[in-house]
């Protein structure tokens, strides 16, 4: 890897992506909140080692779709999902699938930074501990350090690992949450508007981080900033009124979209 230039890495990843190796496949996914239908037969595939951005106006169902990917909708009262979603060809809504196992493979970062009211170390160690990923203290130290390194937070917090995670700044908290998600070695990371509560500088750091994480993880990100989608993603999916309008390469999406509604949304005519 070290021998290759950054551009070469990028190219290799793009090639892998274009090999059409789908990490997750959504087939006719519909979601109901009680009587209300929030998603209408969405067919959307997530490619491996790719950042897929979900965009669309408020209430279009992009967050709802994201949450179906690791069954976080299960925690919402009266929510029902139909259709089929697979992760590496396993149906994640199958009765045999353990939702806890699924969420260990498909991690999630939320809109508002939500570190636990514990120390920075304990925040990271939480996931590995419940999944039994570390055999001993040294192992755990190693996981904590590696995760913080990955999230680009290590140098900032290495001297205060045992201070409270809630004492960090908003941007640091969000990167802590990403490190926490990375610590359980997921295959897919879902991000629900991860930068909406952050200032521009913190946002830039998190975006850079997302870009780097692509090498090891498959990332799905919901964002309401079109610039952000353009900056961080390779594939973009546009939702409107609970329907998938268009899914395409990000470059094409922002220059020459197939659908008029995408064009209008990107030009700021609605949304």
């Amino acid at each position: 890897m070290n021998m290759m230039s950054e551009a070469a890495v990028e190219k290799a990843l793009d090639k892998k992506m274009n090999d059409m190796s789908y990490k997750m496949i959504g087939n006719d996914v519909s979601v109901y909140y009680g009587e209300k239908r929030a998603l209408f037969d969405v067919n959307l595939n997530v490619r491996e080692n790719t950042v897929t951005a979900l965009i669309g106006p408020s209430g279009c169902g992009k967050s709802t779709f994201l949450r179906t990917l690791n069954r976080m909708n299960d925690t919402i009262e009266g929510c029902r999902v139909t259709g089929k979603i697979t992760l590496d060809n396993d149906d994640i809504y199958d009765k045999e699938i353990d939702v806890v196992e699924l969420r260990a493979r498909v991690g999630m970062v939320f809109q508002k930074p939500n570190p636990f009211p514990k120390s920075i170390y304990e925040n990271i160690a939480y996931g590995p501990r419940i999944h039994g990923l570390a055999k001993n203290k040294a192992d755990m130290d190693q996981i904590v350090e590696a995760s913080l390194q990955r999230a680009g937070l290590w140098t900032e917090v290495k001297d205060r690992l045992h201070e409270g995670g809630t004492g960090l700044s908003g941007g640091q908290q969000q990167r802590l949450c990403i490190a926490r998600a990375v610590a359980v070695s997921p295959e897919v990371i879902l991000m629900d508007e991860p930068c909406s509560a952050l200032d521009p500088i913190a946002t830039a750091k998190v975006e850079e981080l997302i870009h780097e994480l692509r090498a090891n993880y498959t990332i799905v990100i919901v964002t309401h900033s079109m610039q952000q989608a353009a900056r961080v993603s390779q594939r973009t999916a546009m939702f409107h009124l609970g329907q998938l309008v268009e899914e395409n390469d990000t470059d094409k999406m922002f220059t020459n979209p197939d659908d008029q509604r995408t064009q209008d949304y990107i030009m700021g005519r609605f949304g």
Binding site: M72, R103, F116, P117, C177, R180
Partner: protein, 494 residues
């Protein structure tokens, strides 16, 4: 005029003022109420307040102050030999005089003339009219009573006149001030604000008053019994003091009572904390909204049951049940049917008190657990934690300070609880560790020392105040500490 009559007149004046003020405001504005600074009703209220409030205040001050003045004047008119007596004796004489004065109001003039010379007959005559006197009145008392009546009459007349003048003056002055730009609303609202402040300060002042009165009486007690003996004494044996007998002081050791209080409270918390916490966790984390909507109010009904009812329950059901079951148990194991659990015992009282405390623990903890942000739960679930892992490792640690605060508040209730222990714990002030034997608490002893025919100035009675102030101090400290913890915890999530 009598005071209620004056108040009635003031009320009528206020109503008239309100109507007149409202009309005048509208008239000045030329019938268009939008020309006025405030809505017209405020002008009426302003006039009514100006008329009634100062008058009522003067009335109240007069009613409180004038008896002091009149009494001291009458007392200073007592014969010299009476003045030479002790204060208590003078008080008794004054009681006779005021009783006579009240009685003479009931009599007709002729009757007074007839008995004026013979005070002894006066007593029986007043008796037939329904006014009882403590002893035979002396001639000087009749004279003093006449003075008293005369002064009261004069005072009443002056008061009536002054109050009515103030009311009318207030009404007139404020009536003239009504003008379109006059800010009546601001003034009325200021008066309402001060009324609200007054209402809330009454609670605080009352608390201070209660503490002061307890402190004074406790001070009297500590004048007789040394604080050292009270706070560190290990024997509670107050004895019965016969009136006048100073020899039998008894022993007033707080320790056995405190030990019983804490022991029973501990047993109660042992029952209430696990059950209450588990039910709170179920209610907040697992129960579906439907179950919660039914179960939570039902649980809180438990909190509304008067504690005396729990006392019955302990006395008639739990106590005998424990006693019988212990007899059966010992019969099974040793062949001898001995009830090693007494019907009144630490266990009975603690168990029933624990049941009483369950809704407090569960309701307070439920609120605190529910207040833990959903984002924390999502964060944990999103990492692949199970629900129980999330509750154990994220939700409960986050809620812990608040839960501890709730438990401390519950503990202070357990310590102050009275009726259950009166009925179920027994009255023997003993220091021992067997939960099957009766023990007694501070509250039980307060009840038993204050009910009965004891002289009020004896240490046997006064000790109740010392006990009360001790209990108050303990629960106050617990509550303050609990509030402190809860507040500290709240800061984290706002």
């Amino acid at each position: 005029m009598s005071t209620p009559l004056i108040l009635l007149v003031l009320a009528i004046i206020a109503i008239v003022c309100y109507v007149a003020g409202t009309r005048r405001a509208l008239a000045i504005a030329g019938g268009v109420s939008s020309n006025l600074h405030s809505r017209q009703g405020y002008y009426g209220s302003f006039v009514a307040i100006c008329a009634a409030v100062p008058a009522v205040i003067v009335l109240a001050i007069w009613l409180i102050a004038s008896p002091f003045y009149i009494n001291s004047t009458v007392t200073s008119g007592f014969p010299d030999e009476v003045k030479a007596q002790t204060e208590a004796q003078q008080g008794l004489s004054f009681g006779m005089v005021s009783g006579l004065a009240r009685g003479m109001d009931v009599l007709t003039l002729e009757e007074i003339d007839k008995v004026g010379a013979n005070p002894v007959e006066l007593r029986s005559l007043l008796g037939t009219k329904g006014v009882a006197l403590a002893g035979d009145p002396e001639p000087w008392m009749v004279a003093s009573a006449g003075d008293l009546n005369a002064m009261q009459k004069i005072s009443n007349r002056i008061m009536t006149v002054i109050v009515l003048i103030i009311a009318l003056a207030g009404a007139g002055l404020s009536y003239v001030r009504i003008a379109p730009r006059f800010r009546a609303r601001n003034r009325v609202e200021k008066v309402i604000l001060s009324a609200l402040i007054l209402a809330s300060s009454i609670a605080i002042v009352t608390t201070i008053g209660i503490v002061m009165s307890m402190l004074t009486e406790a001070g009297h007690f500590f004048g007789r019994i040394s604080p050292w003996e009270f706070f560190f004494g290990t024997v509670w044996d107050p004895r019965f003091a016969a009136a006048g007998a100073t020899a039998s002081e008894g022993q007033f050791g707080l320790i056995p009572l405190l030990a019983g209080t804490l022991y029973i409270g501990f047993v109660a918390m042992l029952v209430a904390v696990p059950v209450g916490l588990f039910s709170a966790i179920y209610m907040s984390e697992y129960a579906s909204p439907k179950v919660r909507a039914v179960a939570k109010p039902l649980l809180e009904v438990l909190a509304g049951i008067p504690t005396i009812v729990y006392g019955f329950f302990a006395l008639t059901s739990v106590g005998p049940f424990l006693r019988d079951i212990s007899a059966q148990l010992s019969g099974l194991t040793t062949g001898e049917y001995v009830n090693f659990i007494q019907a009144q015992s630490v266990l009975t009282a603690g168990f029933v008190m624990g049941i009483m405390l369950i809704p407090y623990v569960s309701s307070l903890s439920d609120d605190i657990i529910t207040a833990v942000p959903r984002a924390l739960r999502d964060g944990s679930l999103g990492l692949g934690a199970t629900k129980s892992e999330t509750i154990k490792k994220v939700v409960m640690p986050a809620a812990l300070p608040g839960v501890v605060g709730a438990l401390l508040m519950t503990a202070s209730r357990a310590i102050g609880e009275t009726m259950i222990v009166v009925l179920a714990a027994g009255v023997a002030a003993r220091m021992q560790l067997n939960p099957f034997e009766p023990m007694t608490t501070v509250t039980v002893k307060i009840v038993s020392q204050l009910t009965g025919d004891l002289e009020f100035t004896s240490p046997q009675t006064l000790v109740a105040f010392a006990l009360g102030i001790t209990l108050f101090a303990i629960t106050l400290c617990l509550n303050i500490y609990a509030l402190f913890i809860v507040r500290k915890y709240r800061e984290q999530y706002e």
